[in-house]
């Protein structure tokens, strides 16, 4: 608030012309900054796509070429045939969707409980959750492996899915969002006789759409790109997931055929990219519906 007051005080002192000039300057600077960011983020993606159509020898030439000299689909054919990517797609789909579904359900219910239910030591429960958020994943790998091995779940879908199913960040994210919801709407629902399930389903979830969609997307990408855990917990090729497929295309010793690796990378990137494009409108829509109260 203090900032806008300052601006209001300062503005009348400058002449109209200089103000307009300055705003134009800001606009140009803004566009430059945007172009810079797009370039920063876009370049690696562009490079991935272009390299996937190049022959291996061209990728290693310096100076690099911006456009493939002789565009080829051979990399895609080789990548697809080098590993059972069809099977990897199915496995990635199964593990990602089920793991995400479980995560979202857990996060929604636990966040609702943490915000709208009254029970003793609520803050302590939340503190435990936060603590779980701070544990680095690498540390849990060996204990999780031993547990899963004892359950006889090595090389199974549940072995890939269950250890990562309950994750604290979803609960944390949704709790913070639920707390910002207008109490009046919730009270009105309560007065109208709505129970917890009804309030959650008809009031809280629609109003929290952006947060829930965001959390779902994060969970999706996280599991879709997960490499180390599926690698460790599965043994056979028919249980492996897409990121392991890319790793298979890399040579342990020797010269890496980057064109093929980039083609494989696009196999993994493409579905997530499409989902993002499709889902982002729900984030925007949700923000708009949340703004009704003004």
């Amino acid at each position: 608030m203090a900032l806008t007051d300052d601006v209001v005080i300062v503005r009348p002192q400058t002449t109209m012309a200089s103000w307009r000039r300055r705003s134009l300057l800001w606009q140009v600077a803004g566009y430059l900054a945007m172009a810079f960011v797009v370039l920063m983020i876009g370049m690696p993606v562009y490079w991935t796509v272009v390299a996937s159509f190049k022959e291996s020898r061209e990728i290693y030439t310096i100076p690099p070429t911006w456009w493939p000299e002789a565009p080829t689909l051979a990399n895609y054919m080789r990548a697809w045939n080098a590993a059972p990517f069809g099977r990897y797609y199915i496995n990635s789909l199964i593990t990602t969707t089920s793991s995400t579904a479980i995560k979202v359900v857990f996060a929604v219910f636990s966040a609702y409980a943490l915000v709208f239910l009254r029970f003793p030591r609520k803050n302590l429960v939340f503190l435990f959750l936060l603590a779980a958020l701070m544990v680095p994943r690498e540390i849990t790998i060996i204990p999780n492996y031993i547990t899963v091995a004892r359950l006889g779940w090595i090389n199974t879908y549940q072995g890939i899915i269950i250890p990562g199913a309950a994750v604290a960040y979803g609960t944390f994210l949704l709790r913070q969002y639920f707390r910002t919801l207008p109490q009046e709407v919730l009270e009105a629902a309560r007065v109208d006789g709505a129970g917890h399930v009804r309030i959650l389903w008809s009031v809280v979830l629609p109003m929290s759409q952006p947060a829930v969609v965001t959390m779902t997307l994060l969970a999706l990408v996280d599991k879709w790109n997960d490499f180390l855990w599926p690698l460790i917990i599965t043994n056979t090729a028919d249980m492996r997931v897409l990121p392991i497929g890319i790793f298979w295309l890399l040579d342990q010793e020797g010269v890496i055929n980057w064109g093929v690796v980039m083609a494989g990378t696009l196999f993994v990137m493409l579905p997530m990219l499409l989902i993002f494009l499709w889902a982002q409108r729900y984030i925007v829509e949700g923000i708009a519906s949340g703004a009704v109260k003004g």
């Binding site: 020898r57 547990t147 090729a237 890399l250 040579d251 342990q252 010793e253």
Partner: protein, 462 residues
């Protein structure tokens, strides 16, 4: 259950449960060694037939964890398929487990969960850790039963996997450093078409190979890798060439000896004083792209470099200084302790097949790894391959002159990276050699202490 469990009892139960898990986790590494492998088995003269136990005639299924992907992975799968069709008693399943580091990490976890494979590929810097934990089996009896003739293996490669006269680690995918040079630039500058015999000679050639525009070097005569790309492996040869070494076999660190310092100073000078060398995270890329016209790199990269380079690739022995020095590297096969005798024998049958004369020839030709069998090198099929690939012949001819690496790099946990990061400080940050080697020595000595204790314990038990 006539009374409710109180909260205290519940907590106590929880604590006890996790305690058991913890104990199991800690003790897991050492337990499998108790497995007895001395089940009497009729000696079997045939080379690859597995010694049979029980006489049921049923097939034994074993799993093999390896790190080969892409072209190497396909070659390995072909090897496994050939084995599975060549005999009826054993079926091997090859399971890819990521990089050497991933495979070792997973093996660590698998030992604790007692979900181990029957054959495992371990790299030069990893097998010793599992030997210390008694997680890999002694192979002499198994090899004798499978009719494996150790005398036909390249001694320099085989002996690396021997401790106290016992074989634990059989050479398989082994490589050595090699000197690579860009023949086209060599000809352009008017140098003889060969690798430099000594570093002094290369010091005379190098200024002619360098190209500059203003103050920046656009073409370097030589390129160094970083720690993550195993500079400590390449420098192992150089430190020997200068008369130094990383350590004695008894883990005494010898980096602060004058010759060890001299070698590191030379590496630093190539970049910071003479100004003809550069450093890069991917030396293959710089060499193929023409940013650098020579390098030391693995023999394993030879085929890929020749395929991708737009110029003629030359190779030669590593240059000498006071003497010749070149280490071996790569990975070998081991059999985890703790599996049944039947499975261990099946595993040995596969190793015997993979490292047989014919297996070696096929594997070497399709991957570029060193032939581990002496008879394979002299085989007509291999000689014909050399005719077509004279560069590969050079790599193989250098092999008898190589030697096993110093304990500090391969036996101290993370020793490779500790030395490698020290070299980065010397070459890239231009830090004082003696001071850096002092720090590295301290770090290596700390790392060596638990290894020495484990060795002591092993000796006491024997």
């Amino acid at each position: 259950m006539d009374k409710q469990i109180t909260r205290r009892e519940f907590l106590r139960g929880l604590a006890a449960g996790s305690g058991v898990a913890l104990l199991a986790a800690c003790g897991g590494g050492a337990t499998p060694a108790a497995q007895d492998t001395s089940t009497p088995v009729p000696p079997d003269g045939a080379t690859t037939a597995p010694a049979q136990v029980g006489g049921t005639g049923s097939t034994v299924n074993i799993t093999y964890w390896g790190s080969f992907s892409d072209v190497l992975g396909e070659a390995e799968q072909a090897m496994v398929n050939a084995f599975n069709t060549a005999q009826q008693d054993v079926v091997v399943e090859y399971q890819y487990q990521g990089s050497y580091e991933d495979t070792a990490q997973k093996f660590t976890a698998a030992l604790q969960a007692q979900a181990i494979p029957d054959v495992i590929l371990l790299s030069d810097v990893w097998w010793f850790k599992f030997y210390l934990a008694q997680a890999i089996a002694p192979l002499d009896d198994l090899a004798a039963q499978a009719g494996v003739d150790f005398s036909d293996y390249q001694p320099v490669l085989l002996n690396e996997g021997v401790r106290d006269g016992v074989h634990y680690w059989i050479p398989f995918a082994r490589s050595t450093p090699l000197f690579y040079y860009n023949k086209d630039i060599w000809a352009e500058v008017g140098l003889p078409d060969r690798a430099p015999r000594t570093w002094d000679e290369f010091g005379e050639w190098a200024p002619q190979l360098v190209q500059r525009s203003g103050n920046t070097m656009t073409r370097a005569a030589y390129v160094h890798p970083g720690a993550a790309s195993y500079i400590a492996w390449l420098f192992q040869g150089v430190i020997w060439q200068f008369g130094g070494r990383y350590s004695t076999p008894e883990f005494e660190i010898t980096l602060n000896e004058p010759d060890s310092i001299r070698a590191a100073q030379f590496f630093s000078d190539t970049v910071n004083n003479y100004g003809w060398a550069m450093h890069s995270t991917d030396i293959n890329r710089e060499f193929i792209g023409g940013q650098a016209v020579s390098m030391m790199a693995s023999t394993g990269a030879l085929a890929g470099i020749q395929r991708n380079a737009p110029f003629a690739v030359g190779v030669g022995f590593l240059p000498e200084e006071r003497t010749f020095g070149c280490p071996t590297g790569g990975a070998g096969l081991a059999i985890p302790a703790g599996a049944s005798a039947e499975k261990q024998q099946a595993a040995m049958a596969f190793i015997a097949f993979a490292t047989s004369t014919d297996g070696t020839i096929t594997w070497s030709q399709s991957t570029g790894y060193m032939p581990v069998r002496i008879s394979a090198v002299n085989d007509p099929k291999m000689q014909a391959f050399f005719e077509e690939n004279p560069n590969f012949r050079t790599a193989v001819e250098q092999l008898p002159k190589t030697r096993a690496q110093d304990a500090a790099r391969v036996f101290i946990p993370n020793g490779d990276q500790i030395i490698g990061r020290g070299l980065e400080r010397i070459v890239i940050n231009r830090e004082n050699v003696e001071r850096v080697w002092q720090d590295v020595t301290v770090e290596l000595e700390e790392g060596a202490a638990p290894v020495l204790e484990d060795l002591e314990a092993l000796r006491a038990r024997a």
